[in-house]
């Protein structure tokens, strides 16, 4: 099993990002995704800065470096920037919108299909593979059962499987909106947001009126409140045909998270239970922990 580091989904200062990636270059990672996937107004690094950082990372680390594209592509400037990223000529690109799939398939370059692309079955997988997709990161709401059934369906169609990468650790990216909820929480209009999400290194918790943590507000993105953690499910990840476990960056403690996953993939027994949620993997509401509701 390979380990990947997903793109940073939060808005961090330039220095924080630089330090984070300097630390990550030392980690036992096989793939590192870099780039802004949530909001084009977050420019602590420009596209050229990201590509430069990706080049540095490629020098310092053995990991494959992939650049990740924006998910909700609305403005003309966003589309042209994404096109330029797809044309970079050096790095594999993770497509998170159909516009990127269109650019990359026109260029006839292979790409990664990110979790924001709606690929849920073998027939749809075959369509994307025909366009050049070589790695599939299923939508985060997919269960092990859906993923394995889709792969079997693909086998029946006689199409070779892509690499399969599951979102295995981190706050789940659940939804995208035109509205910025961080700005809304501060009573600011989106056009005058003052990039206020920079203040929240892991987003803002959204709780029910009873104090139950439900979601995490991260600009135009809404994430899970719970951290999705499939480490206790490691044996079934393998049996399902998953090649890569994606670990999504958090503000603190990523080296420890990577180390725990690295030990398990090296043969140490997976823990029986971990903190966080894993309901989606078990075909249940994403927020639940299968161990707690007695599924394991």
């Amino acid at each position: 099993m390979k380990l990947s580091l997903g793109p940073v989904l939060f808005f961090w200062e330039r220095d924080t990002l630089m330090q984070f990636y300097a630390d990550m270059a030392e980690q036992p990672l096989d793939i590192i995704y870099m780039g802004e996937t949530v909001c084009s107004k977050r420019r602590s690094l420009s596209l050229d800065d990201w590509l430069g950082l990706a080049r540095d990372m490629q020098q310092q680390s053995k990991a494959q470096v992939v650049v990740s594209g924006l998910t909700l592509v609305e403005a003309a400037s966003e589309l042209s920037s994404l096109k330029r990223m797809c044309n970079n000529g050096e790095f594999l690109v993770e497509a998170n919108d159909m516009s990127a799939v269109q650019f990359l398939s026109t260029l006839k370059v292979p790409f990664v299909g990110g979790p924001a692309l709606n690929i849920y079955n073998g027939h749809t997988l075959a369509e994307f593979i025909a366009c050049g997709m070589q790695r599939w990161s299923p939508p985060v709401e997919c269960s092990a059962h859906i993923i394995s059934s889709a792969l079997q369906q693909l086998d029946e169609l006689g199409v070779a499987r892509p690499e399969v990468e599951v979102f295995a650790y981190g706050h789940l990216p659940l939804a995208y909106s035109a509205r910025c909820f961080t700005a809304r929480s501060e009573n600011r209009p989106k056009d005058d947001c003052d990039l206020c999400c920079i203040k929240y290194e892991e987003g803002i918790p959204l709780l029910s009126q009873e104090g139950q943590a439900l979601f995490t507000i991260n600009g135009i993105q809404t994430m899970s409140a719970e951290v999705n953690n499939l480490l206790a499910d490691f044996p079934t990840l393998r049996n399902t045909g998953v090649d890569i476990a994606r670990l999504s960056p958090r503000a603190q403690g990523m080296a420890d998270v990577i180390s725990a996953w690295d030990k398990v993939r090296q043969g140490q027994q997976a823990p029986l239970a971990v903190q966080g949620c894993n309901g989606y993997w078990h075909g249940r509401p994403g927020m639940v922990s299968a161990e707690e509701v007695g599924l394991c």
Binding site: L72, G122, H123, T124, S149, A175
Partner: protein, 331 residues
């Protein structure tokens, strides 16, 4: 601009046709469409009747097969496409590239419309569906500002349909898993959001509370009007404040924008609400027909009549309306 109206039943379809809809969109009675609610949608016989009725009146019928196929249910989606073609609908509304590929390959004569669930928000995404599946129209997600709709329309040869009135998704359609995170069922896979079977109303300490899979979505004091607990429209706590952190219960109403939408070259305006009653469909269709006709007859003199607004306001969620993302300040 064509007026495209919803029907979750045969009476609603007939009401829409009678009140002047140019096209009515419907769904089968299963999870192949994004309004998979108990008791809703048309069975085979009703579909045949409805299509015959619409065609007699020279109106079109579109059928939505617009959820994403689960691997084990693939044959259901395949059958839905075949059946839509056999029924002679004027267009199939779909989102899943696998479904679109099947339809374009096996039924090349069938007009394909890209569903709003396809999340195409820019010209390059539209080009993908046009080049691969020969789509004849695309419904844009309700996340674009008017200026962005205009820009997208200017950059594509795909005719554009936009949402004009009805319930408002705050999230980009096709890109929201909030419902499955709380309940296990999502619009993409199951055709439902905040499913009714997960809803529980109760009276707790004198307050009406609404829960979704036991999660408190909202509580109402006496006299406060309560709405269906769609999870993005609840009141939550953020930074110690209780408010509608994602969206208020409100409806989209773009009647003011008819002249601008027409100038942009929008081909069709869509009314949301297959889950609504025939009476609702009848009233909304009548008012929108009047507005579109008024604009067509005298574009320069167009203005929204107070009676239209009153009628629509009475039908709107929370009795509030908004221009939504079309108006930048909403974002």
């Amino acid at each position: 601009m064509q007026l495209v109206c919803p029907a979750g039943s045969l009476p609603a379809l007939k009401a829409a046709v009678r009140q002047g809809a140019d096209a009515v969109y419907v769904g089968f009675r299963d999870d192949t469409n994004a309004r998979h609610f108990a008791g809703l949608n048309l069975d085979d016989k009703q579909l045949e009747n409805g299509i015959a009725f619409a065609h007699q009146h020279n109106k079109h019928v579109y059928i939505a097969v617009n959820t994403y196929a689960q691997p084990e249910g693939w044959s259901r989606w395949q059958r839905a496409v075949d059946q839509a073609a056999d029924l002679g609908v004027n267009a199939l509304i779909a989102a899943d590239p696998g479904v679109l590929a099947y339809a374009s390959k096996h039924h090349p004569q069938l007009n394909l419309h890209l569903s709003v669930q396809g999340s195409a928000t820019n010209a390059a995404a539209l080009a993908f569906y046009q080049e691969r599946y020969n789509i004849k129209r695309a419904v844009l997600p309700r996340v674009l500002s008017l200026a962005q709709v205009k820009h997208v329309a200017s950059q594509t040869s795909v005719p554009i349909e936009v949402f004009a009135f009805g319930s408002l998704c705050i999230m980009a359609e096709g890109r929201c898993h909030l419902s499955s995170y709380l309940t296990g069922e999502s619009p993409n896979l199951c055709g439902v959001c905040s499913p009714a079977k997960a809803v529980r109303w109760s009276n707790e300490e004198g307050e009406l509370t609404s829960r979704l899979n036991d999660v408190l979505i909202d509580r109402y004091s006496e006299g406060e009007s309560a709405g269906y607990p769609t999870l993005c429209k609840g009141r939550f706590m953020v930074n110690g404040q209780r408010f509608h952190a994602l969206e208020e219960p409100t409806s989209l109403d773009t009647m003011d924008l008819i002249p601008e939408l027409a100038k942009i070259g929008v081909s069709a305006v869509k009314i949301e609400g297959r889950q609504r009653s025939p009476a609702y469909v009848e009233q909304v269709t009548r008012v929108w027909r009047a507005a579109l006709d008024s604009y067509r007859q005298a574009p320069e003199q167009y203005k929204v009549e107070p009676i239209w607004q009153q009628t629509l306001a009475g039908l709107s969620e929370g009795s509030q309306t908004t221009l939504g993302a079309y108006h930048r300040s909403w974002q």
